[in-house]
């Protein structure tokens, strides 16, 4: 396949970025999107240029490292997959593909297509955990959990923290991510005792990081590689309202 790439190049965090055009020639249709970039980068390196920087790690859709907005859509318009799972056969011969970094004030560009998503780590550090000594894995049936609760918590727990929800949101809101993390722990009996403390801490850290507010467009759930539903945002709103009332009463 022969393709034209419009790629965001930015030499550093404070540099001004711009779109540059590259010709991607003789790309096998069975190559993944990242392999296509590897091929293009090999060509750039051979010509003595600076290769296009992008994040990647497992390349099998589970680590959450890869990012990229492909034709304006995080992880491409293919639903339920990450960028590393996108194959070039999904594009047309001769197509022009726009490749940009995830855009959000809270995700500053490090270089080219790499962005700093450590704001997510700070949100998790603020409340995305339970305060118990876990030790070794407990016997599976020692704490019974209803099937519906287990399913709901597991659906939320599939979040890989890639940040596509933020990148797709016109307000760069992290509500789907935070909603998933809160739901994952709040639904389970192990996480329930610290539910209020957790929700308040997560939301306050999210606001402090400069993420925007949810305007219920649900673009986040459309691009989420794990197809997490915006229902977790509704649950987060409910849990937050209850938590702030209980916090006020307790004071």
């Amino acid at each position: 396949m022969n393709l034209t790439l419009k790629v965001w190049r930015q030499s550093g965090p404070n540099a001004t970025g711009r779109i540059e055009t590259y010709e991607a020639k003789e790309i096998p249709s069975e190559a993944s999107f990242l392999e296509m970039l590897d091929i293009v980068n090999t060509g750039i390196i051979k010509e003595g240029g600076d290769p296009i920087h992008f994040d990647h790690d497992c390349r099998e859709g589970i680590c959450g490292s890869c990012s990229l907005a492909i034709n304006g859509v995080p992880h491409s318009k293919e639903s339920g997959i990450t960028t590393c799972q996108v194959h070039m056969r999904k594009f047309r011969e001769g197509e022009t593909i726009w490749i940009e970094p995830f855009r959000a004030r809270a995700f500053p560009v490090i270089k080219d297509l790499m962005v700093d998503r450590s704001a997510f780590d700070r949100i998790i550090a603020a409340g995305g955990y339970i305060d118990v000594r876990t030790g070794s894995a407990p016997e599976a049936n020692s704490i019974p959990i209803g099937k519906e609760d287990a399913d709901e918590a597991f659906d939320a727990a599939t979040c890989i923290g890639c940040g596509a929800c933020v990148a797709a949101c016109k307000n760069a809101s992290a509500m789907l991510f935070v909603g998933a993390k809160a739901a994952h722990l709040n639904i389970l009996p192990q996480g329930h005792p610290e539910k209020d403390k957790r929700v308040l801490a997560l939301v306050r850290q999210m606001d402090a990081e400069g993420f925007g507010n949810c305007t219920n467009h649900y673009e986040c759930e459309a691009v989420c590689p794990k197809e997490i539903s915006a229902d977790v945002i509704s649950k987060l709103n409910r849990d937050y309202a209850a938590a702030i009332v209980r916090e006020a009463v307790a004071e």
Binding site: K6, W8, I19, A69, N71, G72, V73, K77, W98, E100, R103, A104, R105, A106, A168, C169, K170, N171, A172, S173, M175, V203, R204, M206, D207, G210, F211, G212, N213, C214, T215, N216, H217, Y218, E219, A222, V223, S229, A230, D231, I233, S234, K235, L236, N237, R238, D239, Y240, A241, I244, E247, A248, E251
Partner: protein, 259 residues
Amino acid sequence: MIKKPQMNALGKTLLLFWNSSIGKKLVVAITGLMLVGFLLGHMTGNLLIFQGREDLNDYAEFLHHMLHGWGIWIARLGILGAFFLHIVATVSLVQQNRASRDSRYACDTTVQAPVSSRIMIWTGLTVIAFVVFHIFHFTVRLDPDLAAMKDPGNPERHDVYGMVIAGFQNPLVVIFYILAISFLCSHLSHGIGSIFQTLGLRTEKTRVAIRNLSVAISVLLWVGFLSIPILVVTGGLKDKTDSASHSSERPGPSALAEN
């Protein structure tokens, strides 16, 4: 040593609430819910115009005299308060949102957000302009001709029925009214669903019902509010003071059908 005034627990909570993203959105949702309730009541009252002059004017008189005339001011202050808070919270949220997404995609794509959700600020701003116009038009009555209209059956009271029909004789007024109500209903088709989401009532089980309810209320309000100017313009609703000899008889169903 001067003691600094300490904020009490309630004040501190309210400030924390207002300064949080979800808190401010809850303000938008609750005030939005109040405004939707007002719109449904306002539309129902307006539709009394189809019952005839006496019923509509009776209703207007009731509104002005309930709770010894205090009722309407309590309602007005409540509605204006909700309207004001809705706008202040929204403008603040929009400013934060624009700051949060400080760079745009060169290839800007929308996957599933409907148009109504993407033009909320513009439909909202049109509604503000309309509300200002509407209050001066039909509540303050800047036009002395509209202000002077008296009910032919009871010259002591204002003739709301005649005022509405006279008010919609101006095609520019009708066009602005149709445009503003259409924008309002677009605003609501996204807004009503958002109220449920922000209040945390949207779940897998209620998702479809909430979307249908949003559309149904928006369409109901659109048809209800617009039926009046459209029937006035097309001649379906007429001020018959000249021909009907001011009788206090209510127009029966046959008269309505005739209209």
